[in-house]
Symmetry: D3
Subunit: 238 residues, 6 copies
């Protein structure tokens, strides 16, 4: 039924390559099928002005797509001179999602920036970014702890994200671009290890949806995120 | 329990003044308690480039706050030279919400822009904007139909939006600024008359939430939107 | 003779509603006929860099029009990414006009920003802004004095502004949009209670004018500003 | 009495060098004492969108100062990424002033841009720009007529501009930077050959002024502009 | 002698992975040691305005670095709202270099954009970009020819680029970041298969250099580019 | 053979007028034939952030062209809101070239900005800018030394720049616009008194060039720069 031939609750293959670039304190190339994102965590010994003197740190996210990550070439945002609303919406979501599992007091007065750069897009770039950014954050924090910079682990749990949708009336998990373009509704869930929700966003694209559909998408998301948590564990252990 | 003294499922007073400004095809001043937004619908006989030749129209939203709509004065976005991520996220939400109840073929090759300008903010500005924008849109479309420009009504249903949150463990409806600033979770629902959902967004601010909390917030939102639908009817009839 | 049917020296009805928004230290909705402007005065305990260490304050103005304040919708300046030359010229005029009646030593090291946001435009938006901004400033300063923040009143006089023009050879007062669009000359006067001039600007639009015309416009402006001074007094007393 | 030692009604020496640059259709270096401005008139066979199909032309102005035209180096506006309010206000004034003496029908569907670039500033740069821009325009139009592009002269009169001020209580003509910095009021007049006024702007800097002061400044401006008209004639004849 | 331990004329290992991303008509990941760049060639059936109606195509380049491609995180250019002078200088060089080996008549009225995105930087990013961009261009043109869109090969030769420098008095080839930071002079050569020069740029960083040094750097560049030409051949054949 | 009728190694007439503007610490109008550039050196007692606390100064360059310095009017960069890649590339070159002959320790913690504003362009504007900027720098440093601000001369040598090209197969010196537009290759050399090279840039425009051509252009550049050094000496002595 799905263009991809996958079962409704079937994820795409997750590929994770840690240490993908050498300068960042944490880095990973994460792939969900043909969607591929480089996530890096950069530690800086400075904090944004609104936090000065509070003894707390900050975690923030940035997001971009290479111009030809997509089917047709998009204009480079740096050349256009501003970031699109979509880009800003996604980077705000990435930052919130990672802050949901980070104790800012334990992090101390430093900032970790999670850069998520999509090198190939095939649906689900924002959720792959969040799932990969957690790994980069984990690696960077591990380094800070190994270096003795931080004594207590500020990361309180794993966080993962996945998209769901209603495709021809059926809730499906982890939509690729073709499925996403034709879905009636499109949802993104950011879940925390253990079952709590950090963020749920479900948008009607072609037709409004009911409560039942929302719940069924959430349950699919739980299946998906469990798979991602396992992959995150293996990647960090690896 | 709530700082406002309201019951968990109690809305603030809704005030609606139609025809608030004279130039727009549709205009309204909508108030949810101390939150006040001017919504105007402007009809233009042109469409965005990506729609040319398709025989369809477009509905889009813009959002702004007056610099001193808030407790402390914010910088004017026009002076800073760019709109914040928050502003862009909200205007995208307004546009999607209104497009969910508009048949673009029936609208014909014209664009309606819904400008939502917050003159006083006390929580829930984006949901007041959507609820008010529908009234402005309805008035503008009524005018187009009365003028014989459009023959079939392109508006398929009413749409309304309301915020909910988890305040000290309890789901509450229609948060004001004080409540919103201290809520553990913050949700916005865009509902369509009849019960379907156009958009659901629930974000953990202080602590992640569970499925039960999300459902309870959605049920509160239904109560709230029913009240708004009634107010919209009265305003249009008025 | 005038499209509005008014006598050459007849002003439009002035409507003033103080306390129009609740967060600003001073706020007012001012109307000159169909022209309506929200003016707020925001007090901030900081001064621009060029004044640091001088023991003086600063008064500045900002101006904007809602996109659909006018007959046809204009682009939002925040979306275009810059303020027009017209906007900047008007905000500079507002700032200068209010500074002309404010003793910066008595104000002390704080800044008052006068935001003038036009919600409906029908000619004379800049002069309505100045006349309304004075009321907002007066209210904010009254509050600072009542709170004991300032001991001596820094406001030295009332200031008001009004437009005049040459319409079909006749000098007329307080032009609305239709009159302004067809005037041969267009003038704005900023007068100080007692008769002195803070600013005079008279521009030939259709045809140059002579000294006599300029003087007759100035005399009409005196009539108009006397009416505004009275309205300001009543609004503050109100 | 004046820092410059000049009599109240004494202008600075005017120096005009036509044909200062070779590419422009009209060009001039104009000096009022130490204030020096390069004015060029560029003819382009295109018009702004709002004039299309009306059979009319357009005259517009642009203004800039070299970063070190002033006592201390200013930031380059191109590097800052935007033009200041002052710059935009001046370019709007230049455009209006020249349009006041140009018949757009006779000009035909073409645009003339008057670029005024200040290479050394010592007060009065905007008025020197207007006075010089007229010469550049005259030269460019002469060329268009000599080339047979235009048959009837679109220039209806000479236009000139000069600053006046109230310096220590006395109205004075053509202020240099030292005088301007310490003046109580500052005025710019744009006069048309024969005595009519295109623009009058008088601003209180240190203290408001009265009608008598405004009139005395206007009369000084007449004296000054008569001198400029003579210099313009000689330059064109030259 | 070199920090890298390499002989003066010794290149770093070149790694080339073609088909690195799936959407672009040509794509490659090119590595010179630890410097890694994704180069894609995007074909668009449109040309810049200045070429319209000439029957010719266009080849252009864009360049960017991921924020954490470097030792310390740099600000994202899209977030800052403008591209740095360095970025623009490099993209101009990439475009010129590729145009030097492309017959625009044979390319026909289409544009090929070469996006070079540095994912890890260790010196020589601009030369790796040019060398990799040629491969991406070659792949894209091969596809256009295989698809029958182009009948005659517009690529006239291979082009490659390499950096050289004077390190502690000795000319060396292919500097990494440590070497580049401490070099007395820094040169980039863009050479065409067969020996001709498309671009030579040699800049004194610490100390000016003489003609002999420039020639010795050029000769090293020939050695280096011969190696790159071989690697390009193998990658295309691969 | 050359459109200009000059011999291949013949420079255009160099004209230098020192003290061209009065505010700058050093200023000059430099002309190479019809190319004319105003160069000013501005001394400021501040340094860029990256140099703070190092006891060193900084020398930087800025470059612009008046809109009508060229055959057809170009858009003003300040109005467009950004500097072109070409402008930025040239200002970077100016800065590097002057820093090559300046001892930053001897300059002390101050910045000298060299503004190069082209008032008329006919080829070679960047090289005229560098050659003139050196004179402005020399004059400003002389003033600092005469005023006792600096005790030891920070300028280590003269620097000059000139363009060369391959025109119809023949290397020629100091190309004007017509020659430059039709040259097969275009080179700019920045040479230091005594023969060392600060910068060499040679770009194939129509056809790639060989090593012999590059060397012949460099030798022509030596001839040209010797002439410029003499003119610089005379200007300073003058």
């Amino acid at each position: 039924m799905r263009p991809s031939g996958r079962a409704p609750d079937e994820m795409r293959t997750i590929q994770i390559e840690t240490g993908y670039t050498k300068h960042a304190e944490g880095s990973v190339l994460i792939g969900f099928g043909e969607t591929k994102v480089i996530c890096t965590a950069s530690v800086e010994e400075r904090i944004p002005p609104f936090l000065r003197g509070k003894g707390e740190g900050w975690v923030t996210g940035e997001y971009s797509m290479l111009p030809r990550a997509t089917h047709t070439r998009g204009n480079r945002e740096a050349a256009r001179g501003k970031q699109s609303g979509r880009t800003q919406e996604i980077q705000r979501l990435i930052g919130r999602s990672l802050r949901a599992v980070c104790d800012m007091k334990k992090l101390g007065e430093r900032q970790i920036t999670l850069d998520c750069d999509v090198i190939q897009a095939d649906g689900g770039t924002r959720t792959a970014s969040i799932s990969g950014a957690w790994i980069a954050l984990r690696l960077a924090v591990n380094k800070l702890m190994a270096d003795g910079v931080i004594s207590e682990d500020p990361i309180t749990a794993k966080v993962a994200a996945i998209s769901c949708g209603i495709y021809q009336g059926t809730p499906v998990l982890d939509l690729d671009y073709d499925e996403d373009s034709n879905a009636d509704a499109d949802a993104n869930f950011v879940l925390i290890e253990g079952g709590l929700i950090a963020e749920a966003q479900a948008t009607a694209e072609g037709a409004p949806y009911d409560e039942e559909a929302m719940l069924r998408m959430l349950r699919l998301a739980r299946v998906g995120c469990d798979g991602i948590f396992t992959a995150q564990d293996e990647a960090i252990a690896g």
